[in-house]
């Protein structure tokens, strides 16, 4: 390659009208043809389609191209596609650079076509400048631990574990609570088969517990997690259960126990039923007074109140997070009267009541003890709330209808009213149940409930009826609040340990809602079930199986290929001894060696994740990141500032959060000033003094440094923290150089915060205008 002259092909994609409807692509092509080393420039309606790919491949061969620039959508979407095309044409796939003229241009400047076209010139110029300096890189081959970690022992997690184990892959299943089964443990019956929920989860749990390839850890959480795809290390911390496996669930310990749990009403030593999985009691140590009454009562000597927490470390190749959901807490909305009025129950409490009381006949309110003649269901409690959870919880309409059916089966004369906003029975067999309930005389009132007040045992429900536009009052002996779903209580823990992102609704964020609904931004970590968004049991199980397939795709191979983006050392520039790179590497991927009598760093390539924090740490720029070298970044800066530099805002965005956040601004069509030029680095940990000063020396009007939100969002553990620390020093130097401090800004933007990106760059542009006016 060294002897050959650089020969660049530039391709401008129309993406139908997504790009070509805003940007004059013919002008962009004409512009590209004027840049040095560009041998060929073309436009195409859809470069990602086979004709586009074929064109690129044949051009590479016919015109002997050795670098390719694609001006199209975000590299997040199609970089692998185009790299594949290069590889198929016999070119190293890393000799590709993309100019993001869709998410970062046509979609955010759709109201100003000429400005977008101008900007596309710069983006192409920047991409060509970097492409000129690209070097071929080789992918790394890594072996994988042929074992999976499944977090969560509800139906989604159990299904994932069983499918993986049935494929011959060993599984570590970690469940936070003492028993398998998740939310369905407390559920009564399941629509449409109307079988007991218990009868669905118990056989599954039993198979999980007795499967030779599944190791189950109940009462456990993943407390530490590190590594990379195929090679993770997870620390599982098991809290004391207080009961040994010799327990045979005889239950003799329960009556002597003097304390009762406030949340479930069970004793401190308990099991959900004789069919509990695993088949042993558990002690709720938050309630237990350690009086020892149970120890004395136990005929098997199976109770140990002084058990201690245990830690174990596992090496796993992939992870499925199936941590489920929780139900909305209605106490936070006093208008529903929950807590104050005993007649008001939650849907979850009703499930528990239906589960344990099977007898037919007249119903008695389990809390007031009064006969129930009229029951009322209030939908959307904690869902579709403009001031609270805006999302729909998807399952509560069906839960309510199923509960109505169970109540009517016990007492056919019961009068039932459902206060709803929209009935959302979207599955094929669901509408039938809605119709059946209407046919059986259940009254459905469309409107928003204003309050539940009055008689504590027979409360009054005040509703604004949409049909009649009037306020109506209704009384009921049983008021059921159909609770919405919320992210699980342990979400923050799982989020920070696994480094996952959440979407605006608080549930875990998938890698792509349609392409990769089960993947996350972390390669090798997958999602299943309701922790990603509310879903019903069948959907959760399908996702559990689906996540298993995604894991199988990784772990059935002997080797995985990792990208070639790793750090390297320019030993001539390394002064040695300081080893700041080693100290700041978040992955312990640098080890010291002695060279010319000095301690110098060496990269452990298999452990390097390619963040470039070491490159930011090195005072002498001796540490570099392949694919994002100093010269490549500087070439992009120079190209961005070639025309009218003082008016430009240079935005350095990390690959994972802030670049994706800027993409999201594009997807959401959030307009912002067209003078923003985004330069991508893998992590904000790459930022150093030289980088920022170079931008200002070249005349940049404004510089934005951006990355994942601290402390936990960084995809490289602590790159953003290093960036934040260095920025304090950089600010001082910038100021000393006489550059207005407002010209340098540090802002964290997460992958879903398109709005934040828009706000930040808009503010920076306003400030730039002011500074320009002051200096004029």
């Amino acid at each position: 390659m060294k002897d050959d002259a650089v020969r660049i092909g530039v391709y401008v994609c129309h993406c139908g009208k997504n790009i070509a409807g805003v940007i004059r692509t013919a002008d962009a092509v004409a512009f590209a043809q004027t840049i040095d080393d560009v041998v060929l420039a073309r436009e195409d309606p859809y470069l990602c389609a086979e004709p586009g790919q074929k064109q690129i491949m044949s051009d590479i061969q016919e015109f002997n191209l050795n670098r390719v620039v694609i001006a199209a959508c975000s590299p997040k979407l199609h970089e692998p596609t185009f790299r594949g095309a290069l590889a198929n044409a016999g070119l190293n796939p890393y000799l590709l650079e993309m100019a993001n003229i869709r998410e970062h241009c046509s979609w955010v400047h759709h109201l100003d076509g000429p400005a977008a076209t101008e900007k596309s010139f710069d983006l192409i110029r920047m991409a060509v400048a970097k492409a000129r300096l690209l070097e071929p890189l080789e992918n790394r081959r890594v072996s994988t631990h042929k074992r999976a970690l499944v977090i969560g022992g509800g139906i989604a997690g159990m299904r994932a574990a069983l499918d993986l184990a049935d494929m011959g892959l060993p599984v570590i299943l970690v469940e936070k609570s003492p028993f398998l089964g998740g939310k369905l443990k407390g559920w009564s019956r399941m629509h449409p088969s109307m079988e007991r929920a218990e009868s669905l989860i118990l056989p599954m749990g039993t198979r999980v517990l007795t499967h030779p390839l599944i190791s189950v850890f109940t009462d456990s959480e993943v407390t530490e997690f590190s590594g990379y795809i195929g090679n993770f290390r997870a620390t599982v911390t098991q809290s004391p259960r207080g009961v040994l496996p010799s327990c045979d669930l005889c239950g003799q310990c329960v009556p002597p126990c003097p304390v009762t749990r406030t949340d479930t009403g069970e004793k401190a030593i308990y099991a959900p039923s004789k069919g509990a999985n695993p088949s042993m009691m558990a002690i709720d140590f938050d309630t237990c007074t350690r009086c020892g009454a149970c120890v004395e009562a136990c005929p098997k000597d199976a109770i140990r109140l002084d058990e201690e927490a245990k830690e174990q470390v596992f090496e796993v190749g992939a992870v499925v997070a199936a941590v489920g959901f929780d139900l909305f807490q209605p106490e936070s909305q006093p208008k529903y009267g929950y807590g104050a009025l005993p007649g008001v129950m939650t849907s979850e409490e009703v499930e528990g009541w239906l589960r344990t009381s099977a007898e037919a006949g007249k119903l008695t309110h389990p809390r007031t003890g009064k006969p129930i003649r009229r029951a009322a269901f209030i939908q959307c409690v904690g869902s579709r709330d403009p001031e609270g959870n805006r999302y729909c919880s998807r399952i509560c309409c069906m839960v309510a209808l199923k509960q109505v059916k169970e109540l009517l089966e016990r007492d056919p004369d019961l009068a039932v009213t459902v206060f709803y906003r929209d009935i959302r029975t979207i599955k094929k067999e669901d509408e039938d149940l809605y119709r059946e309930m209407r046919d059986r005389g259940v009254r459905f009132v469309r409107g928003v409930v204003q309050s539940v007040t009055g008689d504590p045992e027979t409360p009054t429900i005040l509703v604004h009826s949409e049909l009649t536009d009037t306020l109506a009052a209704d009384r009921a002996d049983l008021v059921v609040l159909s609770l919405g779903s919320v992210p699980p209580a342990g979400r923050d823990r799982v989020k920070s340990v696994l480094k996952l992102s959440t979407s605006d609704d608080g549930f875990f964020l998938e890698a792509h809602p349609k392409l990769k609904p089960l993947d996350t931004a972390i390669d090798g970590v997958f999602l299943a079930g309701a922790c990603q968004a509310p879903k019903n049991a069948a959907e959760s199980m399908a996702q559990g199986s689906g996540a298993a397939a995604r894991v199988a795709g990784l772990l059935t191979k002997d080797h995985l290929e990792l990208d070639g983006i790793v750090a390297f050392v320019i030993y001539d520039q390394c002064h040695g001894e300081c080893l700041l790179c080693m100290k700041q590497c978040p992955f312990s991927a640098i080890e010291p060696i002695v060279m010319d009598g000095k301690k110098k760093p060496r990269i452990i390539e298999a452990a390097c994740k390619g963040c470039g924090t070491c490159a930011g740490a090195c005072p002498h720029e001796a540490m570099q990141l392949k694919g994002f070298t100093r010269d490549q970044l500087y070439a992009q800066i120079d190209a961005a500032l070639e025309v009218d530099p003082g008016h430009k805002i240079l935005a350095f965005c990390c690959n994972w959060c802030s670049y994706a956040g800027a993409d999201f601004a594009g997807v959401s069509r959030l307009s912002y000033p067209p003078n923003v030029r985004i330069i991508k680095y893998m992590c904000s940990g790459r930022v150093n003094r030289q980088l920022v000063l170079h931008a200002f020396e070249k005349g940049a009007g404004m510089v934005l440094i951006s990355g994942c939100r601290p402390p936990g969002d960084c995809h490289y553990i602590s790159g953003n923290i290093q960036c934040e620390r260095r920025m304090r020093a950089i600010r001082n130097i910038v100021e000393k150089r006489g550059i207005h401090p407002d010209r340098l800004r540090l802002e964290w933007v997460s992958a879903t915060e398109g709005v934040v990106f828009q706000r930040v760059v808009t503010e920076m542009n306003e400030r730039l205008r002011e500074l320009e006016a002051e200096n004029a």
Partner: protein, 559 residues
């Protein structure tokens, strides 16, 4: 043969209906009975294993209530090499009657057949249908190193998703996200893609199906055609393009759409006039108008069915005039109109060139309607909301009204998009127009409806275009496919699940799985997740069968 051990499950599924102590009393003297508290629980299974281990009998019998545990229990005990039969005894009138029936069954029950000769299992998987679900299942299976036959009836894979302009709730371009997946299928060495192909017969069982495929003629040699399109240029036969809902022309020899996989021409022989112009124009000599139907036999271990969904035929709702009135469209028609690659190049205009400024959507056309399909199609509320958003983005001052019954925005980010269109001024009217009239001169449409807010009164609305949210239904071929495969269909015509909650991605035939709309209407993310799920179930099943056959071999060798 000694009597099998009998286990009586003492759990709520049975105790809801029957007194276990009485049943045990009635059976105890006549068979080898053990009462197991929760046979499906861990302790229960361990207990049963202990008893089966020492028993001389080749299998056991579990008496249960009405519960789905039977199959799962069979699997659990099979893990340890034991065979059991489950009997639901909860439906009998009394404990005595139940006991009598159980004893009768025990005496007459055929003993399980002795172990048969070793079976040879196939490793490949057949995926039927090349929509997004079939594509995802094929990719996941191929990624796990399985050979996949992906069979598609049409000339290209892509399915309904390839016709959509944008997808909800993120409004990202549909073909932009589907296109690369299609290209991956075309490139993957583990996937054998068979377009214009249908399943004609199937024999065998889980782990070893013999399938015969019918390959319809394409009249183009796929190995020679490069997809250059010079044949289409010279073809004199111009036809409406059904892929663009007949709103755009195509030639008789054509490539379906830009992102087609395989990107090869095909001849629509129903309309070919045999002029041979294309044959002469093709430099690669790829066209053979004498091409004939062929058969292909394959052996597969598992089958994933993903084909069989059609948009509702909106002409059935005669009062809305679809097919009679030029400016009444369906959701999918509209996707093509608003798509940059569609017939109008993405401009919002009617076929007569008039800009679309005033639009009405009518929801639940053919769905939630006992005369047509009584189920809810699930996604059409969001489809219309998305299209309303696209109209507002294109023409900010457009007047958009959505006639609905319930707005069903139940999915991640769906309610948020609903709130967004409300903010953009889209009106929602609860209730449906009873009929639509066309102004013969202007071709505008008059909607007659009853408004239900503040009492009921009759109202009318004049619009440029009406979009019918038609929902989906099983396609005509699904009944035939189900019969060929031997799988059952549900009352709506979709494929029946093995269990609606536990095994919603398995059909009633072991070894045949399903994903996507063939199981019931669903949106793209759910179809994709299900497809991965079906792939996992197929992988797990094949592995289990092979592992069992291996361990059987080993135990036979050692004994």
């Amino acid at each position: 043969m000694p009597d099998p051990p009998v286990f009586l499950c003492d759990a709520s599924c049975l105790t809801d209906r029957m007194r276990v102590d009485r049943l045990a009393e009635a059976l105890r003297d006549s068979c080898d009975l053990t009462v197991i508290p929760y046979a499906c629980g861990e302790r229960g299974v361990r207990k049963m294993r202990e008893i089966l281990e020492v028993s001389e009998a080749s299998h056991g019998v579990i008496l249960t209530g009405r519960c789905p545990a039977g199959e799962a229990l069979g699997e659990v005990l099979a893990d340890s090499g034991h065979a059991v039969t489950c009997l639901d005894v909860s439906a009998y009138a009394s404990e005595t009657v139940a006991a009598a029936h159980v004893l009768f069954r025990l005496r007459t029950e055929k003993k399980p057949a002795p172990r048969r000769a070793r079976k040879v299992y196939a490793d490949a998987v057949l995926v039927i249908g090349g929509g997004v679900a079939g594509v995802q299942a094929a990719l996941d299976l191929a990624e796990a190193e399985k050979k996949v036959y992906l069979v598609e009836r049409a000339v290209s894979i892509g399915g309904i998703m390839s016709q959509l302009d944008k997808t909800f709730p993120t409004l990202d371009c549909s073909i932009c996200i589907l296109g690369p997946k299609l290209a991956d299928v075309g490139r993957n060495p583990n996937i054998e893609l068979l377009t214009l192909t249908e399943v004609s017969s199937i024999k065998g069982e889980a782990g070893r199906f013999d399938v015969t495929l019918t390959l319809h003629p394409r009249y183009v040699d796929m190995s020679r055609c490069t997809g250059c399109g010079s044949c289409s240029e010279v073809c004199p036969v111009i036809l409406p393009n059904e892929w663009d809902l007949n709103l755009k022309p195509r030639k008789c020899i054509h490539i379906l759409f830009a992102q087609s996989i395989p990107l090869r021409a095909s001849v629509d022989m129903n309309h070919c006039i045999g002029c041979q112009l294309c044959v002469r124009a093709c430099e690669k000599e790829a066209i053979n108008l004498e091409d004939t139907e062929r058969k292909k036999k394959i052996k597969v271990g598992a089958i994933v069915v993903t084909a069989g969904l059609d948009p509702f035929d909106a002409t059935k709702r005669a009062g809305y005039g679809y097919g009679r009135y030029e400016n009444v469209f369906t959701n999918i028609d509209f996707e093509r109109i608003v798509c940059a690659s569609g017939p109008t190049g993405g401009s919002l205009v009617r076929p007569d060139g008039k800009p679309i400024k005033k639009v009405a959507f009518i929801q639940c056309v053919g769905s939630r309607d006992v005369r047509f399909n009584r189920y809810c199609s699930g996604f059409c509320c969001m489809a219309s909301i998305k299209e309303a958003m696209l109209i507002k983005e294109n023409v900010p001052d457009a007047e958009v009204t959505i006639f609905f019954n319930d707005i069903r925005a139940a999915g991640k980010g769906f309610e948020e998009l609903y709130l967004r269109v409300l903010k953009h001024g889209v009106s929602f009217i609860k209730g449906f127009p009873s009929w639509i009239e066309e102004d013969a001169e202007t071709r505008d449409l008059m909607l007659n409806f009853e408004e239900m807010v503040e009492g009921t009164h009759r109202s009318a609305m004049r619009v440029d275009a009406v979009i019918l949210a038609g929902g989906v239904e099983p396609d005509e071929a699904l009944a035939g496919l189900a019969e060929t495969l031997g799988v059952e269909r549900d009352p709506f015509g979709f494929l029946e699940e093995r269990h609606p909650t536990l095994s919603a991605i398995e059909t009633t035939v072991p070894g045949i799985f399903m994903a996507g709309g063939v199981q019931g209407p669903k949106d793209i993310p759910e179809s994709v997740a299900q497809a991965s799920g079906a792939a996992a179930r197929a992988l797990a099943m094949i592995h289990r069968l092979k592992a069992r056959s291996r361990s059987q071999d080993e135990s036979e060798r050692s004994s």
